[in-house]
Amino acid sequence: MTVIVKKTTQLIAGIVFLYGIYIILHGHLTPGGGFAGGVILAGSFILLILAFGSDFLHLLREERGSTIYENLAILAFLLLALSGFLAGAGIFFANWLPHGTPGELVSAGFLPLYNIFVGIEVAASILTIFLALVIFKEEILK
């Protein structure tokens, strides 16, 4: 890609990333949430890969990393659900944290935490799908 594309991407990618985080963190207050924010997060990574390109081995390493993040995020989600199971007298997904004032950023007990892990999960899995397609194409070309 040309210098113009690379420079613009460098400028935009950070903002896109921050916007994704904003969407995830305000999931319990505004429209959007873990899934939408996660897609935006993945978008910023994909933008960078598209603009700068990446060699094959590097992509493979990245794919390994994103798979591990994906699995860890799901496991963390399950652990949060199980914590309700253990703390809330055998109720799965019990929201036992203090709920706070409605409308505040830190409120609604477990919901923001669930959103964060869903965001990581979605970002990692969409990035994995993208990388898998790119790696598949590279393997075909070989």
């Binding site: 699995n71 860890l72 399950l78 809330g88 109720i91 799965f92 019990a94």
Partner: protein
């Protein structure tokens, strides 16, 4: 009292799947034992629930969201006599398939993907069976369907990829139909909880789209259950998958996400109407008869078995349909109960013998390297255990006493005769004879014919883990016939029939909490 074990049936296989992916990356060789431990735990829990639960149903509210003014909100998990049986099938056949895979899958690569997808499929099926919310059923249906697409394609050869593409396209059509029907239900009933939908429909919420919803759901789940006009994907998918997966697909998946959901929705959610009952009976009789004629000409062993799955599922659908017709006419409910009991019993039996037959086919493929019946022969001498277990399974499926298939077919035929469906009873008997013929063909060509000189290597019996699961299933085939005994039938099969027959009971246990 909420039973805290219910959500664990979904959470344990999910955790198993994702832990396998992470740990399997760093420690090779461990995924098989993790999957085995997961399935052992599930088997223990589901059998415990069956034994301890008995006739009582238990309802679990996720996150503790209690009903407001009798209207259920939130997600419900429901465990009753019928789902208890299906949960046991899933875990037991799953456990034996994993045991079998330990040796069988050694020839494939990417072990951690296999076991992880396997656990995901189990989680999806458990979710479908437990869920009391129709949209949740759809979500879990997709989890199990997508992991089974990947598992069918696990060999990544041309045949497997073609089969999985066909399976995916038809599976996507099915999912679309189901989602479309759920949209209609939400539009007309304003709720997604199965018990609440029933209340809404019976209070006069049945619009013009009531029949459309029923047809869409029957088509969608009929595609998953491979009833005859929707069966095109099954022979390809079930014969191309690795054998333990074929055993899971044929033995468990088409029941848990197909037959189970159809029975649950048409008995417990919709009002039973005579027209719908006749349609279901016709579809069942059609798949019973056509499936067996498609099967008898096959020379590919696994394809033959796959067509027999269609035919045997026809028995289940047909006998449930006979029960529905009798219930819709409002007469002789004890014969309706007998027919439904026969159907459920045959479903249990089919899981055992069809799982075993696919494992046998896998063992033959493992040792002799072929699936073509014409290239086999004389295997009885070199593979005595495979031969004897497959003989047990063949006798069960063809309905020879004392094996389990005989008793369930007997109950179905007796119920059909008592309900004055003489033609269906005769058809069921004839289909059973043709089934016997095609399994005699399998036995003769595979095990008792002259030995073929074509085998380059010496044929040996398969390794111990594979033998272990085959022998266990053969014993289960024999033991299941005990369920026909009067004392045992009341404790195991009757609760399942009761929950299907007593339509008000299912909804009152949720709304009345």
């Amino acid at each position: 009292m909420m039973n805290p074990l219910l959500p664990l049936l979904v959470a344990i296989p999910l955790a198993g799947a994702f832990l396998t992916m992470i740990i399997g990356r760093f420690i090779p060789g461990i995924p098989r034992y993790m999957a085995l431990a997961t399935l052992l735990l599930l088997t223990f829990i589901s059998i415990w629930l069956l034994v301890e639960g008995g006739t009582a149903s238990s309802v679990y509210t996720m996150g503790g969201w209690e009903p407001v003014d009798g209207v259920p909100i939130g997600l419900y998990l429901i465990h009753d006599g019928f789902s208890a049986l299906v949960l046991c099938i899933i875990s037991v056949i799953g456990l034996l398939s994993v045991t079998y895979s330990i040796s069988y899958m050694a020839r494939y690569t990417s072990e951690n993907y296999f076991y992880s997808l396997f656990c995901l499929m189990i989680a999806g099926m458990n979710g479908v069976v437990l869920s009391g919310d129709i949209f949740n059923i759809f979500v879990f249906l997709e989890i199990s369907a997508i992991s089974s697409y990947a598992l069918v394609a696990f060999g990544v050869e041309k045949n497997e990829l073609e089969a999985t593409l066909k399976y995916q396209v038809l599976g996507a059509v099915a999912s679309f139909m189901v989602l479309f029907a759920i949209g209609f239900i939400y539009w007309s009933a304003k709720t997604l909880n199965i018990a609440d939908i029933r209340t809404a429909f019976s209070e006069g919420g049945q619009g013009n789209n009531y029949i459309l919803i029923q047809i869409l759901l029957l088509t969608g789940f009929g595609l998953k259950a491979a009833i005859i006009p929707f069966h095109a994907w099954l022979p390809d998918a079930h014969s191309s998958a690795p054998s333990p997966i074929s055993a899971m697909l044929s033995g468990v998946l088409i029941k848990a996400v197909g037959i189970y959901v159809i029975l649950r929705l048409f008995f417990n959610m919709f009002e039973i109407t005579e027209g719908m009952a006749i349609l279901i009976t016709t579809l069942g009789a059609l798949s019973m008869a056509v499936g067996v004629f498609l099967a008898i000409g096959q020379w590919d062993l696994k394809r033959l078995l796959a067509y027999h799955s269609i035919s045997q599922m026809g028995y289940v659908i047909m006998s449930a349909g006979i029960g529905m017709i009798l219930m819709a006419r409002g007469l002789r409910s004890e014969i309706a109960a007998l027919a439904i009991t026969g159907g459920i019993f045959h479903m249990l039996n089919h899981a055992a013998f069809k799982g075993l037959l696919f494992l046998n086919a896998g063992a033959i493929e493992y040792s002799a390297g072929t699936r073509d019946l014409r290239q086999m022969g004389g295997l009885a001498k070199s593979m005595p255990f495979t031969s004897s277990t497959s003989l047990a399974a063949s006798l069960s499926i063809s309905g020879i006493p004392p094996f389990n298939g005989f008793f369930s077919k007997l109950i179905i035929i007796v119920a059909a005769v008592m309900g004055r469906f003489y033609f269906l009873a005769a058809l069921a008997a004839i289909v059973s004879i043709i089934t016997l013929a095609s399994f005699m063909k399998f036995q003769r060509y595979a095990f008792y014919n002259k030995e073929q000189a074509k085998f380059n290597k010496e044929i040996r019996e398969v390794p111990v883990p594979m033998l272990l699961s085959m022998i266990t299933l053969a014993v289960i085939c024999l033991l299941l016939s005990l369920l026909a005994l009067p004392g045992i039938r009341e404790t195991v099969l009757s609760p399942a029939t009761d929950i299907l027959m007593d339509q008000a009971k299912y909804s009152s246990q949720i709304t009345g909490m």
